[in-house]
Subunit: 366 residues, 2 copies
């Protein structure tokens, strides 16, 4: 079948993709990626079969690194890497690269992934939980006042996909601030100079699963007394320009296409605006509709990316899911650990999809 026929079939199906990640990406990105899987820019080879040392791929990864730099206004002391392993692996690299043997790493436990990051670091040394909202099922973002100055680093997770909370104002601190920004990077203004390191699994606002973006202040590396395995020392990845070993080429290529799409569509400013439009519309419906409850009621803690809600009468859950399915709404079921519903609305999502969901909610049981 031709790409055109496939696209037409897809448009006819008109699925609204609310998946939490891997998640929606722009159709034009996927069409260009599909073409390149057969024949990359007419060179007679697929993006899947060229060497990572080929001039074509070196241009791809360098352009991707450079667009991240441009989009996020990186100061010169920051480096951009595309690694493997996901955000979970970066929990290990955080400890390896920032925690000294007798030092302390502090964690803001704002959700499941934040807690995993904290627990995964414990095998490497002294780790403390600085603050948490676990006792209220993460329905607010934990407080971040009075960060002590004697920490090796403090780790936060900016947006929590499972509970749907999000930090609004990043703390000002002299302690190296490390942030897992997997699920809201490129949807908000960031002053990168506040952070020692930002990392993000690609599979939300950046690209397909398999690549992990790392933005790191190179001046903050090399401060620990730990012997770091070669492959885990971020300085080695910087030295080899993100090609210490074979990178996840296709995921990086699609990330590049997606960065280009984002810039063409107005950049982070426009993505931020769209996220406000989508999330305002949906929160309004949840708050006004007597059938539904928002999980996060604190307005300052509400995520613009993942909106978690429940039916007050849980016996209606299956009916609501069926109504969503009938309206071609996909991926709306809440995470298995919390239940309820979750609308994940990343950069590529059109407001039409949010409106489709709101329509189902408005007409449900009325």
């Amino acid at each position: 079948m031709s790409l055109r026929d496939l696209r037409i079939a897809k448009e006819k199906q008109g699925i609204h993709n609310f998946s939490a990640g891997p998640c929606i990406l722009p159709n034009e990105v996927m069409e260009k990626a599909a073409e390149s899987v057969v024949n990359l820019d007419g060179i007679g080879l697929s993006i899947l079969e060229i060497s990572h040392r080929s001039k074509e791929f070196v241009e791809i990864i360098e352009r991707a690194r450079s667009l991240v730099r441009e989009t996020m206004n990186l100061p010169d002391n920051y480096e951009v890497l595309f690694l493997q392993g996901g955000a979970s692996y970066l929990s290990i690299l955080t400890a390896q690269n920032f925690l000294s043997k007798a030092g302390t790493g502090a964690y803001v436990n704002s959700g499941t992934w934040a807690r995993n990051s904290m627990n995964d670091a414990k095998v490497f040394g002294n780790i403390i939980e600085f603050s948490t909202s676990e006792n209220t099922q993460f329905n607010t973002y934990p407080k971040l006042d009075n960060i002590p100055s004697d920490l090796d680093y403090i780790h936060i997770t900016s947006n929590n996909t499972i509970a749907g909370n999000q930090i609004k104002d990043f703390p000002k601190t002299d302690v190296p601030l490390i942030c897992d920004m997997s699920s809201d990077i490129f949807s908000r203004d960031i002053d990168v100079s506040q952070f020692a390191m930002i990392y993000a699994g690609a599979q939300k606002n950046l690209g397909p699963a398999g690549a992990t973006l790392v933005i790191v202040d190179k001046n903050k590396l090399g401060q620990t007394d730990r012997e770091i395995p070669r492959l885990m020392d971020l300085r080695n990845h910087i030295e080899k320009m993100s090609m210490l070993n074979t990178p996840p080429c296709f995921s990086i290529y699609v990330s590049l296409l997606n960065l280009e799409w984002m810039i063409k569509n107005g950049g982070v400013e426009e993505m931020k605006k769209r996220s406000i439009d989508r999330s305002s519309l949906l929160y309004k419906e949840i708050d006004e509709n007597p059938l539904f409850d928002a999980h996060v009621k604190d307005l300052d803690s509400r995520s613009k990316m993942n909106i978690c809600f429940t039916l007050k009468d849980e016996s209606m859950n299956e009916d609501f899911l069926a109504a969503c399915e009938k309206a071609n709404i996909s991926g709306i079921k809440g995470h298995r650990s919390v239940g309820g519903f979750r609308a994940s609305m990343y950069n590529a999502m059109s407001i039409d999809s949010t409106m489709a969901l709101v329509k189902v909610m408005k007409t449900f049981k009325s």
Copy 2:
């Protein structure tokens, strides 16, 4: 442009892809992959945008694991995982999962990647070089006689892409045998029961870069006294059916398509036969043509996947590369660390490509 037009353009270009990896994959695999990047099996969503927990993706990864099991006749005590990080990362997991604090890991240093594996393990404990052919630029496979019995494991690299050597007979030993089979897996008969663990970066005979295949005897895990980080403990990956964190979905999907292609084309038996046909043809030319020299002269050490050769008169190198380029032969330049030429001929390569190279060699300077 339609996929058909892209394919026709590609066929007209007729590039012979000798890249060492990422490398040639079957055209029909890439076309199916391209379709799925737009619309996976007509479900109305791309393979890049479905959740790794969706029933579609769970079926993909389970089928991929099951085809590896089937193709390699795995005994029940072996598990199949698709991880991230590449073979380099598996060097770390090898030490973490198999090396006890006071134990010893032995390495057969048969090439650059083998040596890296050995050096990368040293940070974790006692590591010895069991044998090497480094003093002759790895132009033979090192000897493997008399493996001591008091090792935690012995690590070998079955095929070395840079020097072009390959082990023919795997050693029989009671010591856990761990093999990096990145560049010749699925091209030869393997009695998996000889190994405690086999791993392979996907980007040769399996699929695109970004996934790493691990085949491990689960009964050999959990024997060390080491505290293993959660994400590095292979038992956790087994327990979570290779979804401890978000897997590299697209690389796994294309690996599945490629496994299906291989089985449809006669399986490992046929791939082995094709590798013999291609490599015999090329070695014959190298050995008979007075202009060329094989790097590996020992017949028992010659790789069937990567054939390294030089021009006796190195001043002709650029002319030969130009002649190759004129004949649409791509990726034939030797690794930057050794120079000369390297023909990487993986499963997807047609004998026609080998014949095209042999033709250039036969007519060069004649």
